[in-house]
Each structure stands twice: as structure tokens, then as C-alpha cells.
Assembly symmetry: C2
Homo-oligomer: 155 residues x 2
């Protein structure tokens, strides 16, 4: 269709962004309405809530692909709500370990109910096949991300 060899509809960053935005907007509207949570806050809550052990802010950033200042502010926000508490690392006092409080875990559980319901809607929308393919494709990217995180890069 294009004169030269480039096909925008096959260009991954464009397609991914479009899909991610489409899918995120509706869900964000839900938790924003119910909890006045911002996107970075939800993503931080999710990262912490899904982890069995405490994480540092940097961990949250790499796990969610968020800029460190975004994480920093989200952490402050969640702390003000008393959904999260920080604790200094004894060996390395630059680090702070982040953990959800009881209230935070409760909120997380409620949010995951919303999330599950939304995931089910998406499932209906794109079908089992689409879901499986997407999952496999995202896994491939996630492997690449992990690989890239060993050899560092500024985010």
C-alpha cells in the first residue's frame, strides 16, 4: 500500500501503543472513578501487591517500565493513603523496601476483582485465539526486556 517498503500497520511500536492505550483507557476510568487512583499509583500498587516480598522503587520501575520520578511520586501518594510503608535497608541505606500495609493489600484485592472482570471482558472481545497469540507474543517481548535489563539502559 505504501510507496516504499514501510507499512505502518505492521510497525510494532505504533501498534502496541495503540492497543495498550485502547485497553488502558477503559480500565483506568474504572479505578479512577472508584478510588481516585492515578495510573502510576495503580501500577505501583499492582507491582507490590503481586509480589511475595518487598520491592525497592527501582524494582517497581523496571517491573512496570515506569520512569523513576513517576514511581517516586506514586510511592508518596500511596504512602499518604497509608496503603504502603517504607523501610530502610540496613546494609545499604540508599535503598528503601516497599511493602503494602493491611489497607493496601485490601485495596489491592478489591482492585484485582475489577481487573479480573475487565480481563474477562477483553477475553470476550478478542477471543481465545487472540488471547493466546497475544500472550505468546508478549512473552517474547518480556523475555527481551529481561535480557535488556541485564545490559543496562537508561529509562
Amino acid at each position: 500500500m505504501a510507496v516504499d517498503g514501510f507499512e505502518l500497520n505492521a510497525f510494532l511500536p505504533y501498534r502496541l501503543n495503540r492497543a495498550a492505550e485502547f485497553v488502558a483507557v477503559r480500565f483506568a476510568a474504572e479505578y479512577k472513578a472508584r478510588y481516585q487512583l492515578t495510573r502510576p499509583e495503580w501500577r505501583t500498587l499492582a507491582a507490590l501487591g503481586s509480589s511475595t516480598h518487598a520491592m525497592t522503587a527501582t524494582d517497581v520501575g523496571t517491573h512496570s517500565a515506569m520512569h523513576k520520578t513517576k514511581v517516586s511520586r506514586a510511592v508518596s501518594g500511596l504512602e499518604e493513603r497509608r496503603w504502603l510503608k517504607r523501610s530502610e535497608d540496613q546494609d545499604d541505606r540508599r535503598l528503601e523496601h516497599l511493602e503494602l500495609t493491611k489497607a493496601g493489600r485490601t485495596a489491592y484485592r478489591e482492585l484485582t476483582n475489577l481487573a479480573s472482570a475487565y480481563q474477562a471482558q477483553l477475553h470476550d472481545l478478542i477471543g481465545v485465539g487472540g488471547m493466546k497469540a497475544l500472550s505468546a507474543g508478549l512473552e517474547a517481548i518480556e523475555r527481551a526486556i529481561d535480557k535488556a535489563e541485564k545490559r543496562p539502559s537508561r529509562t
Copy 2:
């Protein structure tokens, strides 16, 4: 792994956003450095450049999943560079048809070279299988988006 039934690593909005962000950041750095282009500007340029006919601002917005104010500003930016020209619709004067100028098409061609090179890198990074799966999955979402666009929704 999670206590309840929710698995963040299987939650589509989170995964998509993460992947999209990872993939977009590196590419954005390239065209920002070479052309001082913002992301919305690149996306608008891309939408127009890949289309055979003129588009309205609304078209650009739905095609790229960008908010209309973002599109509006990106259009102004591209117009100032003289990469894009507007023309009023004769039948409906609310509409303006957007087209790239010669300079705009040239820029688009240069940008698509960058894009192709980047796409090749991604291809290497995630492999043929990952690429195919991802493509199939994204297609499923894109179909869903098109469907959703018939029955409207505020973006």
C-alpha cells in the same frame, strides 16, 4: 503465585503498557534526537504519511488512539514546520482535511527508514515466532477496536 486468583503477569493492560513503553522509548529517543519530533507529532505524521488520501484530525485520533487535543497540537506543530497543510471541506466547514506537504512526505520517508531499521532490531530481539504471535494477537485487538469504534466511546 498470588493468594487469590489474580495474576498480574497475565493481566493484559499491564503487560501491554509495559511492552509498548519499552518498545516506544528507544524509538522515540531516535526521532527526538534527529528531528526534535514529539511522540504525538511522529504518530500524526505516520498516520498521514501511511494514508493514500487526506484525513481529518478525528481520523488521525481514532487511527492512532490519541486524544483530540493531542492531535490538535501535533497538527499545529507539523503545520509550523510546513510538513502538513490543511484544507477546508467545502461541504462541511467544520472539517479540515490534512495532507503532508512535499517536505512532509520527505520527512516521512526518512522517518520510515529509521522505523524499518528499528523494526528489524525488534525482530531480532523477539524472534520470528514472537513476532508472528504478537502480530496475530494485535490483529485481534485491532478488530475489537474497529468494532468498538462503530458503537462510539469517548476518548
